[in-house]
Amino acid sequence: MEAADALVLKLEGFEGPLDLLLDLARAQKVDLARISILQLVEQFLGVIEGARRVRLELAADWLVMAAWLTWLKSRLLVPQLGPVEEAEAAADILQARLLDLQALRQAAAWLGARPQLGQEVFARGQPEEMTETDRSRLKLDLPGLLAAYLAARRRAGARQRYRPRPMMLFTVQTALERLGMLLGSLPDWASLEQFLPGGLEDGLPRRAAISATLLAGLEMARDGRLDLRQDDKFGPILMRKREAGLNE
């Protein structure tokens, strides 16, 4: 049990399956180029198996590598299962990758062993800034000035946009108010024109006032507040206040 624990702990120290493989290969203490891939694969699978007994959840890439190595092992052990060249090529690829990783390790170690700036050697702590920045001058050019002038004039121009004078037409709302106010003051049937406001210009303003008053009258008739009557086609429209309690 102790051995298995140690194995798991060690596994966590590796950055990946390739990492572990390289470590196992190194443990064989022979040149990586002459290492026995079969032996290496068996060791790796042994470690993974041991680790899985204690930790069921093993990172996916470890298991992917384990599956691939299991395949490789079967091909190397029992060549008649498939073309042996395929297995040998796979073994070569694995070996090449281990060599790459080995070279990388050496390179990283070489870098790490060098005196590093800020660790073993130090540059001057107080560098002297000899560069002076002269910001006293203005950056001005004629195109910029002209562009600014045009921009200002355009902005001012855009503000004075043409707006048509709004037409003050007699609205239905105003007609409603006016009708309500005037209705009681007229004794009997009165024509619609009598309810129009004074001083109306002919044309659109007058026609708008007539239709607004008619609409207002229709609305009030619907509410039961007045009666509407037209005796002839195109004849005058007559209105009167509905008497309280009187039904149609």
Binding site: Q126, M130, T131, A151
Partner: protein
């Protein structure tokens, strides 16, 4: 040359060189071997650097290396980084250039936007505009115009060398030209 350098001097030299702050006598005393007298070490180091391109000086409460003062002119590099005028200032300047003499209220009307006092100050500080009397209207507002420095900045000999307004604006009507300038 290194023969003259004791281990204590080497260490002191490296410490003063690498430190981000002037190195105090107390720091040196802590660092140097006990038998080395900090003062004597620093004196020897200062002598070694005398007359060189870099000197050991006492400043800012401690020891530090400084480049020799006589070399400063050769070392100094001046980088010109001219500022740009903010947009509002450039617009104000352009309006003054074309409409001078002009009051602030008139500038604002032409711009269709307010002209901040700071903007006017900026133009004044840079010597681009100058007061040119007062307008004889209620309140007697100041009239503004451009300076010779303005011309020099833009490489002009005379205000007449500015492109004519008519050439710039499609609609040559005056302020409030309405649709003329609108996009």
């Amino acid at each position: 040359m290194s023969e003259d350098f004791t281990p204590a001097m080497r260490l002191a030299e490296a410490v003063v060189f690498a430190a981000a702050q002037p190195v105090t006598a107390r720091m040196l005393a802590n660092l140097l071997p006990e038998d080395a007298e900090a003062e004597a070490v620093m004196a020897a180091l200062a002598r070694a650097y005398a007359g060189r391109g870099v000197n050991l000086v006492q400043a800012g409460g401690g020891w530090q290396f400084r480049t020799a003062p006589d070399l400063a002119p050769s070392l100094r590099k001046v980088v010109e980084l001219p500022r740009r005028l903010p947009r509002a200032a450039l617009e104000g300047l352009a309006i003054i250039a074309y409409h001078q003499p002009v009051t602030r209220a008139e500038i604002e009307e032409i711009r269709g936007a307010a002209l901040a006092q700071t903007t006017l100050d900026l133009l004044l500080e840079n010597g681009l505009i100058t007061p040119q009397g007062r307008k004889e209207t209620p309140g007697r507002p100041t009239l503004w115009g451009t300076t010779p420095a303005f011309l020099a900045h833009f490489g002009l000999n005379h205000l007449k060398e500015l492109p004519r307004r008519e050439d710039l604006l499609l609609d040559p009507a005056g302020p409030g030209a309405g649709e003329g300038g609108a996009p």
